[in-house]
């Protein structure tokens, strides 16, 4: 439970962080809230040689309306999402999902950018941003680029971010149509065994912990678009998926949960 030795740098701006990352190479890691990275370091599952602390970049903590969308700074804490008036009005799903992450201590440290960049398929917020059809803004040595959420998650704990890039902003469309998040776990603070995020009356449906990345339930979305009922569409939730097996659930049980939870989420979102 004691991490391997590492160097520690404090970034005073996003540009500074990118510069420190470039200098650190593949062995450098950004430290934001630290609630995923530090436990992995304590188990020596992650052994970065340099930690670049971006946790003090308060200019990247904001939630604001912009051009019909909601822009969220990457260092915004989950608790800030949870209690945001802007999100309550314009994107309640994101606030509700943030309220389901971990426990209050985690939510006061963890950041939206951190959880997206960590790309854990069992995390809640990546699926929410995916269901919402969000856009992620990465800053690198060459400036900013936009990455669609659908293109961002590339594998287990892997994203489209280059080693010298940092997430600086997340944009989600204003979304107040029927929404719901179903999180299934055994203890209140645990990761989801399976989770289902429904945005805009079912036009966006994303699954948590059903594969190596958060996954759009494309078959469900298509069936709904074709006029299927919630129950009929939900029956397709696990179609084509090869979910992981662990102590909590084997693949069959995960598929079953995905179907049940999708039905419940769609029904709660007002899908007939």
């Amino acid at each position: 439970m004691i991490p391997a030795a590492f160097d520690y740098e404090v970034a005073d701006s996003a540009a500074h962080a990118v510069e420190l990352l470039s200098r650190g190479g593949d062995e450098a890691k950004l430290l934001a809230g630290g609630h995923s990275l530090i436990p992995m370091m304590r188990y020596r599952l992650a052994t970065p040689s340099v930690l670049v602390d971006v946790g003090r970049l308060d200019d990247l903590r904001y939630i604001e309306r912009r051009n019909g969308a909601v822009a969220v700074g990457a260092l915004t804490r989950h608790s800030e999402l949870e209690h945001s008036g802007v999100l309550a009005e314009h994107c309640p799903l994101l606030a509700a999902v943030a309220a389901e992450v971990g426990d209050p201590a985690v939510r006061h440290r963890g950041t939206l950018g951190g959880t997206l960049a960590h790309a854990d398929p069992a995390s809640d917020l990546p699926a929410a941003v995916l269901a919402l059809g969000g856009t992620l803004v990465a800053r690198g040595p060459g400036g900013d680029r936009e990455i669609a959420a659908a293109d961002f998650f590339t594998g287990w704990f892997e994203s489209a971010l280059a080693p010298d890039e940092m997430l600086v902003e997340v944009r989600v469309p204003a979304s107040t149509g029927g929404w719901n998040y179903q999180k299934f776990n055994r203890r209140a603070q645990d990761w989801a065994i399976v989770g289902v995020a429904v945005a805009d009356g079912g036009s966006g449906v994303a699954l948590v912990n059903m594969g190596s990345t958060p996954i759009r339930a494309a078959a469900v979305e298509q069936a709904l678009a074709d006029g299927a009922t919630a129950a009929d569409a939900a029956a397709l939730a696990a179609e084509g998926l090869d979910p992981p097996a662990d102590l909590n659930a084997d693949a069959d049980f995960r598929r079953h949960l995905a179907r049940v939870l999708t039905r419940r989420a769609l029904t709660a979102a007002g899908v007939p």
């Binding site: 439970m1 004691i2 188990y43 055994r186 203890r187 065994i193 909590n248 949960l257 939870l261």
Partner: protein, 806 residues
């Protein structure tokens, strides 16, 4: 909680005027714990200390061909790397102690603090690192390269008991450590089964549990090079036992050894042991002449601290047509792990006398075989043997109810030992002290609002609601107050079961109490001060309670088995009585009266019938100090010592009723209500009692729903972190509703029994019985522990003939 006294008549009242006894006094221990002022082993500031890092086997069973220390020695701060062979001379080949050879022919292979030549479980210590910081120690331990040749391992308990299993200790030729039997009348048992109308046969699996005390273990051994003394700080429940065992194991004079248990953050039995790290740190500190310390990490604790439970239980009931049980047979396989720790083999036997539960059954047979496996050793875990026994009988009683068509409460009521039968000699040979099990059951049903819940259940069943309701009963009796020394002798235990106390009145009438019962979170200081304050007619805040340091409290048998109040508290009570007796003699001298003519009222002795003629306790305390005018032959002090060896166990009992909601679509279980009625005899502090019951119930429910030390087929612990090992949090705690019944124990003067383990003992079967009750209409008759959503869902699918595939 409404503490309703229903049988107060028999035992003497604890004091003529009990101001504090029975009151909900806040715990004096809490401010220091809540503000961080309490000092744990890891908080000790020890300049110049070397940190120990332990290299642990990554294999369940392997020959060690070589240990390469070069890389570790190159790490800055690492001063030394020592293998088991290097260290063997330090303990002269002596093994870690097992104090409970339960049979004369028990196999107890030598258990070295650091293994030599072969590792027997994943987590077995194979080398140690000394370093100048904890960080260097961790880096050093990670850098030691061990060349293992894996061997076949015995992992699954039932398989390990088969003749073709790989052997943990080849030289024994078997994995069986011992077989212990208690069958007073074999022919009568067989006859009862032959004549039975209903025979219930069940197999239950007690999964292994990781104790997960909030504070992992820690050790700091501090030598005094000039005098050869050693002070051993340890996060232990048993400083007194540890002192004797460390002295014997290392061959050092007991007079040169002091053991201190500073603030200790829980134990649940896991710190009732003598561990390798305690011996290693002590030996190395003496050799190096500097302090040597070690703090266990959470994931290390999962491997290196004992685990609990781990049994395969076969139980059979023989009952007549009316559901009256005539005989019980229990056959156990008990998982010892790779070695026998301090009381490993005895743990199942603490339940050996209780597989008939609260029932008056006639004939009894119990057989237990202890089995070695290539896993972390097992030992005491909250309840220790009694939760396992209660689980088996209470699950089987529900099966009997189903077989006879009786309700769970009716089948229990028909079989209970009746209130007028106490003191009751059980079929297993114990004498149960007191109780009224029928009254407790009735109160539990009322508290649980049973009729309304059954109506809700029927409604949900009729409407085929996916969320079904289940109501589960668990009636228990346990043996506490460990233990009468002569009974321990009959069980081959290596020590007595008494407890020691000193009550010392200081010149200013403040009081020091010294107890040998070593608290680690229970609230002994608060409870002991209340007992003494009541007897002496003083304020509890004027009573200081000293403990947990063998220099301050040289004698004691420490804290486990719900023994502290019934044994240690009784010793406090007796010592206080002796102080009062001496004070009475001094008072009589000052009042020029006969001691027999004095009465002690409101902190003063006065001559009966002449209230004006009195002398206050404070005056007597000062008189004993000045010694200017004491009666002839009276020594100048006001203190007394008492050592109490209980004549019998105490027998707390109760009935718990759990109500669960089962989501039949997902298998999720929620405990929506939990009603518990417990009889722990008289209660010194109901606030502390409730706290013990709350925590105990959650810990018992955790075995039913969450916790499981999962091993892979090749012997790797798959749940070595609190991400995978599901200790519940406050968010998972059910809504507790408690009530109590008070049948004072006639065994001790205060009429107390013990409450430390009751919740844990009762809750596990209550929760599982509730789940099965919810699902019985679907055809489910058993659910394995822990009843995870997947396990429950699959049980439903299997009962529906679908097998749970999709």
């Amino acid at each position: 909680m409404t503490a309703t006294a229903t049988a107060e008549a028999e035992a003497p009242a604890p004091t003529a005027k009990a101001t504090h006894f029975g009151s909900r006094r806040l715990r004096r221990e809490d401010p220091a714990l809540l503000t961080g002022e309490a000092r744990f082993v890891d908080d000790l500031h020890l300049p110049g200390a070397l940190w120990l890092g332990v290299v642990r086997s990554t294999e369940a069973h392997a020959v060690i061909h070589g240990i390469d220390t070069d890389a570790a020695l190159r790490i800055e701060g690492v001063t030394e790397v020592l293998t088991g062979a290097d260290l063997a001379p330090l303990w002269g080949g002596a093994a870690l102690p097992c104090a409970w050879p339960v049979t004369d022919d028990m196999h107890n292979p030598p258990h070295l603090p650091v293994a030599v030549g072969e590792a027997k479980y994943a987590g077995d210590a194979v080398a140690v690192v000394l370093a100048t910081s904890r960080y260097a120690a961790a880096d050093g331990a990670a850098a030691v390269a061990v060349d293992y040749e894996p061997k076949p391992a015995a992992i699954d308990l039932a398989s390990a008991a088969e003749p073709d299993s790989p052997l943990v200790h080849e030289s024994l030729g078997t994995n069986a450590s011992y077989t212990w039997e208690l069958t007073p009348d074999p022919d009568a048992v067989e006859k009862a089964f032959a004549e039975a109308e209903h025979v219930i046969e069940e197999r239950f699996i007690q999964q292994r549990l990781i104790p997960a005390a909030m504070e992992p273990r820690g050790v700091a051994a501090v030598p005094s090079p000039a005098g050869g003394e050693l002070t051993l700080y340890s996060a232990t429940q048993i400083p007194h036992i540890l002192k004797v065992m460390t002295a014997v194991t290392l061959g050092i004079g007991e007079n040169k050894l002091r053991v201190v248990a500073p603030a200790v953050g829980g134990g649940f039995g896991s710190k009732l042991n003598v561990y390798a790290e305690e011996i290693i740190c002590s030996a190395l500190a003496l050799r190096k002449g500097v302090p040597v310390r070690w703090t266990e990490s959470r994931s290390e604790a999962a491997l290196a601290t004992i685990q609990g439970r781990g049994q395969v239980q076969d139980i059979a009931l023989a009952a007549d047509a009316d559901g009256r049980v005539k005989a019980v047979k229990a056959r156990l396989l008990a998982d010892m792990g790779a070695y026998l720790q301090l009381v490993t083999p005895g743990i199942p036997l603490l339940g050996a006398f209780l597989y008939h539960g609260c029932y008056d059954i006639g004939h009894y047979s119990f057989v237990c075989t202890g089995v070695f496996t290539n896993k972390t050793p097992t030992d005491a875990y909250r309840g220790a043997g009694r939760p396992e026994a209660t689980y088996a009988i209470e699950r089987a009683m529900d099966s009997l109810a189903a077989a006879t068509g009786l309700t769970p409460e009716e089948v229990r009521a028909r079989n209970f030992i009746s209130a007028d039968a106490f003191p009751y000699t059980s079929c297993a040979g114990l004498i149960f002290d007191s109780g009224d099990y029928h009254a407790v059951l009735d109160r539990a049903m009322a508290l649980a609002d049973l009729d309304a819940r059954r109506a809700d259940q029927a409604r949900r069943r009729a409407e085929q609601n996916p969320r079904q309701l289940g109501i589960g009963f668990s009636s228990y009796v346990e043996m506490c107050g460990l233990a009468p020394s002569r009974v321990l002798a009959s069980l081959n235990y290596g020590a007595g079961g008494w407890e020691a106390a000193t009550v010392r009145v200081l010149p200013t009438a403040k009081v020091q109490v010294v107890t040998g019962a070593t608290p680690h979170g229970q609230g002994h200081e608060t409870a002991w001060s209340m007992i003494v304050a009541d007897r002496l007619g003083i304020d509890p805040d004027d009573v200081e309670v000293l403990h947990s340091d063998t220099a301050v409290s040289p004698t004691g048998m420490d804290t486990y088995g719900s023994r502290s109040l019934a044994v240690g508290g009784t010793a406090i009570y007796m010592a206080t009585e002796r102080v009062l007796d001496k004070a009475r003699v001094i008072a009589a001298h000052r009042l020029e009266a006969s001691p027999e003519d004095l009465e002690y009222v409101d902190g003063s002795f006065r001559v009966r019938g002449t209230p004006a003629s009195s002398v206050a306790f404070g005056e007597i305390a000062f008189a004993a100090f000045t010694a200017h005018d004491l009666p002839d032959g009276v020594e100048p002090n006001l203190e007394a010592h008492a050592t109490y060896d209980p004549p019998n166990f105490t027998f707390p009992n109760g009935t718990h009723v759990a109500t669960v909601e089962v989501d039949t679509e997902t298998g999720a279980v929620e405990v929506v209500d939990y009603a518990a009625v417990d009889d722990c005899g008289r209660q010194v502090n109901p606030l502390i009692v409730e706290g013990q019951i709350h925590g105990g119930i959650l810990q018992g429910a955790a075995q039913a729903l969450y916790e499981d030390a999962v091993y892979t087929d090749d012997g790797q612990l798959a749940t070595a972190s609190l991400v995978d090992y599901l200790v519940p949090s406050a968010a998972e705690a059910p809504r507790y509703r408690l009530d109590s019944h008070v049948s004072p124990s006639p065994t001790n003067p205060m009429g107390v029994k013990g409450i430390g383990e009751a919740g844990t003992i009762a809750a596990t079967p209550a929760v599982i019985n509730a789940i099965v009750d919810a699902l019985r209409p679907l055809g489910v008759t058993d659910v394995e522990m822990p009843a995870s959503p997947q396990t429950v869902w699959r049980a439903i699918e299997t009962a529906r003939g679908r097998g749970g595939a999709s």
